[in-house]
Point group: D2
Amino acid sequence: MILNERPPWEVHSSKVELKMSHSQIIKSESASSGTMIDALTPPARPLFQKLTTFIDAECRPAEEEFEEKLDGFKIIPEVLLALQRRAKELGIWNLFMTHLHNITVHDYGLMSEQMGTSFLAAYATNCAAPDTGNMEVLHDFGTALQKERFLGPLMDGGMRSAFLMTEPDVASSDARNVCTEFKKETRSGVEGYVVSGRKWWSTGAEDPRCEVFVVMGRVVENSVMSKHHTMLVVPSKSPGVTIVRSLTVFGYDDAPFGHAEVSLDDVWVSKEDSLLGEEGAGFKIAQSRLGPGRIHHCMRAIGLARRCFDVMVERMLTRKVFGKEMARHGMSQEKIADCKSDLDCARAITLLCADKIDRIGAKAARGDISMIKYAVPDFVLRIVDKAMQVHGGMGMCEDTMLPRAYSYVRTLRIADGPDEVHKMVVAREECKAALKRMGIAVGSKL
Amino acid sequence: MILNERPPWEVHSSKVELKMSHSQIIKSESASSGTMIDALTPPARPLFQKLTTFIDAECRPAEEEFEEKLDGFKIIPEVLLALQRRAKELGIWNLFMTHLHNITVHDYGLMSEQMGTSFLAAYATNCAAPDTGNMEVLHDFGTALQKERFLGPLMDGGMRSAFLMTEPDVASSDARNVCTEFKKETRSGVEGYVVSGRKWWSTGAEDPRCEVFVVMGRVVENSVMSKHHTMLVVPSKSPGVTIVRSLTVFGYDDAPFGHAEVSLDDVWVSKEDSLLGEEGAGFKIAQSRLGPGRIHHCMRAIGLARRCFDVMVERMLTRKVFGKEMARHGMSQEKIADCKSDLDCARAITLLCADKIDRIGAKAARGDISMIKYAVPDFVLRIVDKAMQVHGGMGMCEDTMLPRAYSYVRTLRIADGPDEVHKMVVAREECKAALKRMGIAVGSKL
Amino acid sequence: MILNERPPWEVHSSKVELKMSHSQIIKSESASSGTMIDALTPPARPLFQKLTTFIDAECRPAEEEFEEKLDGFKIIPEVLLALQRRAKELGIWNLFMTHLHNITVHDYGLMSEQMGTSFLAAYATNCAAPDTGNMEVLHDFGTALQKERFLGPLMDGGMRSAFLMTEPDVASSDARNVCTEFKKETRSGVEGYVVSGRKWWSTGAEDPRCEVFVVMGRVVENSVMSKHHTMLVVPSKSPGVTIVRSLTVFGYDDAPFGHAEVSLDDVWVSKEDSLLGEEGAGFKIAQSRLGPGRIHHCMRAIGLARRCFDVMVERMLTRKVFGKEMARHGMSQEKIADCKSDLDCARAITLLCADKIDRIGAKAARGDISMIKYAVPDFVLRIVDKAMQVHGGMGMCEDTMLPRAYSYVRTLRIADGPDEVHKMVVAREECKAALKRMGIAVGSKL
Amino acid sequence: MILNERPPWEVHSSKVELKMSHSQIIKSESASSGTMIDALTPPARPLFQKLTTFIDAECRPAEEEFEEKLDGFKIIPEVLLALQRRAKELGIWNLFMTHLHNITVHDYGLMSEQMGTSFLAAYATNCAAPDTGNMEVLHDFGTALQKERFLGPLMDGGMRSAFLMTEPDVASSDARNVCTEFKKETRSGVEGYVVSGRKWWSTGAEDPRCEVFVVMGRVVENSVMSKHHTMLVVPSKSPGVTIVRSLTVFGYDDAPFGHAEVSLDDVWVSKEDSLLGEEGAGFKIAQSRLGPGRIHHCMRAIGLARRCFDVMVERMLTRKVFGKEMARHGMSQEKIADCKSDLDCARAITLLCADKIDRIGAKAARGDISMIKYAVPDFVLRIVDKAMQVHGGMGMCEDTMLPRAYSYVRTLRIADGPDEVHKMVVAREECKAALKRMGIAVGSKL
């Protein structure tokens, strides 16, 4: 890979004029009738159109071949690699790095919705988790060396990465429980850490192109709590790293990307190469990954829900039971109506949240981000479940993407913090607002 | 009442520039944190601020006195009449006639939300149903004479009206079933109709100021179906009109406005005075009442939900059970989080629908209008129900407005067409869209 | 009133043979198809048949006249008094005192279900709350004097009583919060208490025949917690007792029985006349009221749900919309099916709980009693709500008993402890069982 | 295999005395606290105890080895074969053939619940679908020859079978759509049929021991509708039979039993060997499979739910989040309480239905059977879903049986008729009952 003269992550564009974004949002139509182009800021429009055409004309049609050519975690089917080359050529590449394209989080939200309509689209455009979050982290906190070694190749698409956060032995929904150890140890005069721990749900760790892990742990020597949780960049082929097994979700192994359990046994890394930000910055970095990322996840889930809704209605219009098309039966009509409002609700609150991030930043929009995190998967699961039901036996098996869609969205209620934690966050935000309104000091009550 | 030189309904302003509206919508904050002023078009901003101040400082505080002074249907407590004078003086009067104020449906939606936070606000500002719909109908379809006789006084606030649609003897959810008879009869050389039938749920008919009914029925002589259903303007004191009884909703009679059962026994009216539009225009006129009107209803319900949500959270923060504030209990936190997402969903889809009406008109937005009609009351009822539960016995009785709020919102699932009918409409719209996408002629399937 | 030679509460029959009960339960049919007689123990069968005939032929037909003759809290319409005389004559009187009739809690549960199908039946048969609970308390804890003065007349039906537990100023869902004061004071050499406090939701306190209150409070002088909460019998006409107001539930005042707010201002009572059990026995006595009482409440609610379900289906079969009976529409069919399973579930778990009380006692069945307390009203509300929806406007007003039914059942989610408290109880019971299974000492975890 | 002197299916015992069954049912405790032995008829008690011990001590512990030894559809792991030998030895074999053991459907329901707590138990005891239904069909409708050739070996456990009903090309929820063709053709003077069609969801067809298919189709020559749908017994190795593929459910292939798509291309069978009952008896035979079978499915699902509930509570008691055990958090407590009532409701209505079948037969209990068919999986799914949520990532993967449980129970909402069809059945039954009550002839309305 040859880097551009200026590294790609520095191609900052002039700041997008926010007013443009707002002026257009409302024109984005309801989910099932597609997205109107003028909901986007001007810089986003040609990108969106190219992306949509690419997904409709190239990604969805390629899904079947991709499935056929799969061979566990050994290879990435050529059809996906070809799609990646094509997307790069079209300039619809790394779109999640919105500042590079002079677009807004809201713009990218609408693009994520489109990506959600094909299982291949996010991979094809280098916009798939966990690389997106890892690239953001490297961009914001990485040293020049880390950027050159990892961020460049990741942005180029030839390398992949994993994020090693969750641990099997502790309730990771409370991130303070994370207990992988970073023990300070100088080897050959070089300062460094010995990493020991076990991680799981390390998505992408088994991808044959995966070269780097971003690992959360704690520096054992630091007695001050604020210096504890720390993030390290660890090359995935380091001695002591073992892929213990591939986890399945429902029955799917999600090859060739997968969700690995990874053992880290006395893995030594140098401080200079590995430390992200500083010791104790673990939470801050982890948080930074989560704001826009949740918009992406939700909007992709919504795109997927739209696809499921569309196939459900199409099936109802073409399948006859008890003498008439399913669509003429009242129970079917109620399903359609319920799905439609679920879909529109999910979409509306997520886009509003995206816009809020554009305007006031992810930190201030924290409550809304937590809210969509629990509300959207719930809406989407209801839609996917109805679509499965309408498809009968076909809706349970590999002849539709429905059970896979269900399985994927179901994990969203757990990944990046379970519903329950996000409900606590929202409740706290609302209580704070109420106390303020009531003129009561927050400290005395919460 | 002295009319302005130009009648009030002709003060058309220059067309509001739609782009302004869109550019601002997104800035309206989530319900519980109030509405940001810059979500409104510029002409709406000062109105909105005056309205909000008026409601907060004058309407809600007046509720208690209003309740105390109530004496069935005999009088309108002076406190409300004073509020009306005040609102007129402030220029926050007849705001629902958006074209008079150069504001959008979306702007008025945000104002309706504010009105929903006090039971008196819509009455105080001459924006209460059914007068709003009746004024619109008179404005759009009335003759000059009808406008002078009824529209002027209604807009001035000294007169009230009722809409006589639903009938106890037929399933009025299918409006074609309406069977009140309009029999042609010329008296003293004047063409006219003899009206016979029974109506109920005629809201406002018992208000002592009610002077006029808008009545749906069918012209018995017209053999052609398209000439059947017709709308007449009938003075409420006409011979043959009897208020049979006041209906209660749950246990409330909703005095002094009420919901009457009305008997029309051989009520003769002249064609010139009474006919709205033309014979057979009944459905068309009925439809025209319903578009923006549903935005108003939904947004008021949402404002009410916000009030209920606020009192729920405040109660949780100040009431201790089992050793700590309710707000510290997990079951309470889950209730807050669920209410918050319900509220934001309801609000987001309704505002999007309002904007759609602004952009493409109520007819084209029909599907969305039906969707909010069934989706919003469901969200709001869940919120009110939780607020009642949190208040214990107090939440069931007159010490809170909660049971009344519940009762009011529950009727919204039935009034103007039950949920089931609106779900059928949405299902049909979605099926049409799907057939189009599939390249199948609609006629062959629906 | 002339007492029998042996006071009525002493007519203990030979112990019912429990095996009989079990052998029959299963034959009780699903709710909507009526109750088979052989689900009852032999002694219960003739009573059940007389009761059912009485309710069907006399109570439900009398409802209309009762409503018409109502005049607030001033009188009890004669038609109810006549029903009472008739029920006493038939021997279907005080059936809730199961030991007097040699029947089981399960038998009486099935009878309560029948009573639920008419608003008058429980009153007509002297089986209405709160008298039932008060009579039980007097029976189990009263002195001979208290029994003669109050229990006899209550059982005879000429006197009524109220239970003063809940207080407006504290979260009474945690009964330890109750703070009405019992201050020891000897007057004229007679030991006694001065009662001061405010109670509300004192059902029946306004009935013109109400003579006695059972009052929960705390003896202020007792420093030991276990001597604190105490129950007193207080004559309702004592100096210092004031009915402050009638509370409404949704808009209903539930006259002529009502729910009163009662002020107790320095009400002196003698210890001998008033103390129930001993000082500090308040909780124990309060608990004793709640076991079988919850079966009664749930089964009556289920009987009411069956009535609502029946009228819903009948309406669907006779009302046409969009060209065919509602019952032929798919959305209606789904409603019927959902109601049917809700009804059968509610009924099955309540009858199983009743039988459990028969076999192992209310204390051991505590978890099940809490479970039906939150599960059954939820099922029943869903049924009543659907029945309202199907009736359109008629379902909201006094033309059906539906809104009243809804309002009544909604209070069951709060009265005698809100859902949330009972869910905590069930969770604790299940956790204890799990700890035992796991071999972990309960103390270490809960 | 050597048959007993009297074939095993003829060992009819003296008719079980029904009263015994009823007398005991009620004593079966709520699900989570286990089943009391005296809820069973006396003949069932020793069987139940042996079965429970066998499942607890041998089946569940064997699950891990079974999983490890699996090798697709090639072999049945020896551990299962050993369990089968053991069960046969213990006499807990073919228990579903209740008449052989002198037990009731209700007894067997309680046994099925136990079987549901281990994935291996039904197979180990020769009580797994679809063999159970097929054996019943062969028993009730088979010729002596068919019984000897197939029923004997199936009952002995050495042979397995499949039921070929559903077809990929038609909406099989309306069984009249089934279109596999049986063409009459005499070969070598022997009357027979040529079978042509495609079936799927043929559970067990890939089991290496599967020798026989029971196939639904229509005799093409029969012009009379009542002679159309017919059932044939077809040896699975017949020329023209092809296993097209294994279907997955969510991602599971359910090896070694599986769900096959089967192609039947001109498969000739003799009439004497193959015809079950007579031509046109297809529906009758299909129906006969479904009554008690649905009890078995539901009770096994309930047993599974109990297992999931138990692991959920145990996890809550041992896992700490935010400073205390999950079980101490209010949101957890609400989950426990909701699961508990869901579980008890599911169990209660299914056992009542089982008893109804014992008393009045499956045909008369049709409505109840349809009701449990849609109500029970819904309850169970809610429980399993909560258990997954509480387990976080572990709840999604193979470290718990939870996602597999979810996937299995989800199919129950579709298999043997989707929810929607069963809701129609229940609605029809309730409407019939209402019409009868109203004195209206059914014919005129339904």
